[in-house]
């Protein structure tokens, strides 16, 4: 199965700086159609399509919209989450830089369905270069009269991974530290400034005009039981052709990384970024979907020269740096994990380390406030499951080193413990 470009259908075909080329390609026809529909009918259509959130969590978009539609509030907000901070993810950057109008159209339809009249595009600070393009696209849509029902603003982040988490993102817009909030209440109930708020990923919103134009039946015919439509993947690491690829949900990992991206030697793959699953190369037939592995669609390929402990250490170093620090399991858990991985790499591992890592990971998964700490456990547990031998090797090496150094190292590290 080759690529299936639905979300990316306009990318490379239209001029992202000129709304006329988007209109020529049939742009805003879905918006015109949706304007003649009742909000309930739009929500129903999206619900029936089975569209799920593309940012990683995979919640039903239609249900989210329904909650927001039914929520009482003088004012409602729509936020497009363009804070693509996940390690190995760059698909939203690709989408925005090639088809900003498609995103605007999706947002307008979301506004019609839910009653949100003010919208923010939360653009990560690292993507500042896209700011001009996006604002120009909004300006052009405005001058064409498409923004009568909605005011769209670009809100730039300031370099914080955790702000991709929706409650931290809202705190950030409110001018606070980007720390996660306790849930419930969920954003459609009480979000930005305590008003009902819909937060959708860039790719999720891109699907909306397509669903309105072609119907929910067309959309739900693609994919698997719980994962409908297509998914846009960002492929990086040890492949010949890193880049953005769109495939039908349920396509195999092999098709993506071997046939499309040109991987030759696959020891392991991490799917979903720094908090993603790490699976061994022999599981390459795995279909990619919410039922199996998916996340945000960031796929990093590692060849046989790569050291899994090194990889997980890099993941944890990043998560430790980016933990917002509000809840103890994540703040302290990533700290201890980092210390253990540092020792394993430095040749000072202990057998007990693996037990500690597993205990920590399970505690963090169960007790952390938001997805960062909860999912930080994933690469650790997966590596322990599939690459146990690499941990054993490290610990054997450590034991040898300690005996070789005649206890010198033991003394210095015992003090630390």
């Amino acid at each position: 199965m080759a690529e299936k470009r639905i979300v990316l259908s306009n990318c490379g075909k239209i001029d992202p700086r000129n709304i006329e080329s988007y209109l020529t390609a049939g742009g805003f026809s879905a918006y015109q159609k949706a304007r003649k529909m009742k909000p309930k009918a739009i929500v129903e259509e999206v619900k029936k399509s089975g569209l799920t959130g593309r940012g990683g969590a995979g919640f039903s978009c239609g249900l989210k919209w329904e909650m927001a539609m039914n929520a009482r509030g003088r004012e409602k907000y729509l936020i497009c989450n363009a804070d693509e901070g996940e390690v190995g993810a760059f698909k939203d950057k690709y989408i925005i830089s090639h088809d900003p109008f498609g995103l605007i159209e999706g947002m307008l339809i979301a506004g019609l369905a839910t009653g949100a009249r003010t919208a923010f595009i939360y653009l990560r600070g690292e993507y500042h270069a896209l700011d001009v393009l996006l604002k120009s696209a909004i300006e052009q849509a405005h001058s064409k009269g498409y923004l009568k029902d909605m005011d769209i603003r670009v809100f730039e982040g300031a370099g914080a991974y955790v702000c991709g988490e929706e409650s931290a993102l809202m705190n950030s817009i409110e001018g606070q530290r980007g720390e996660s909030r306790y849930k419930p209440p969920y954003p459609p109930q009480r979000g930005l400034w305590d008003t009902p708020t819909i937060i959708n990923n860039v790719e999720t919103l891109m699907n909306i005009p397509r669903i309105i134009n072609n119907g929910s039946a067309w959309f739900s015919a693609m994919g698997t039981k719980r994962s409908k439509g297509t998914k846009v993947f960002s492929v990086s690491g040890d492949v010949a052709r890193p880049g953005v690829y769109e495939m039908e949900m349920g396509s195999s990992l092999q098709e993506l990384i071997v046939a499309l991206a040109g991987a030759k030697d696959v020891k392991s793959v991490q799917i979903g970024g720094a908090t993603g699953n790490i699976i061994p190369g022999h599981m390459i037939d795995t279909p990619l979907s919410h039922e199996t592995f998916l996340g945000s669609g960031a796929v990093m390929v590692f060849n046989s020269t790569r050291d899994i402990i090194d990889i997980v250490h890099n993941d944890i170093r990043f998560l430790n740096e980016e933990s917002c620090g509000k809840c103890t399991p994540c703040r302290e858990g990533t700290e201890v994990m980092l210390e253990i991985f540092g020792r394993l790499l430095a040749g000072d591992g202990r057998e007990r380390d693996m037990v500690t890592l597993e205990e920590l990971a399970r505690t963090m998964a169960a007790a952390s406030l938001c997805g960062l700490g909860q999912a930080a456990a994933v690469p650790v547990l997966d590596s322990l499951k599939y690459f146990y031998n690499e941990y054993i090797d490290r610990i054997d090496q450590s034991q040898f080193l300690r005996s070789y150094l005649g206890g010198e190292l033991v003394k210095t590290t015992e003090g630390v413990r």
Partner: protein, 146 residues
Amino acid sequence: MSDKKEASAGGRPGAGLLPGLKEQVEQKAYLSRETMQAVADQAGLPLNSVYGVASFYAYLPVAAVGKNIIRVCGCLPCDLKDAQGVIGSIRKELGIEPGQTTPDGKFTLEIAGCIGACDQAPAMLINDKLYGSLTADSIAGILKSY
């Protein structure tokens, strides 16, 4: 759409804080105590609240930085493609370690979280400009252009 309107975001409390701080960083490179005090006074907030917010975000420096900030991505996809070699080359070229600023105040070197250029790994940002598919040898030429 004016930047003012953007910052006010419908007159909601706090909405102007982050854009306001970013604007200060664009003008003054970093947020000094005086700058933060001025922002705090204008927003009717205590200084510690503004400091608390600013210090949370990597792109809102609260201590003096160089004229140009180099942010080399240190995350996995870049690390796999020898980001360490790139960092080593910058260290050698500028004589500073990550987190430090050159004595002439021209460059600050930082190791960044993923900058979303994994298909062009290893990559770095200098201010807002993205440099991808770097090699250790390409660094000197790039730095000379600043």
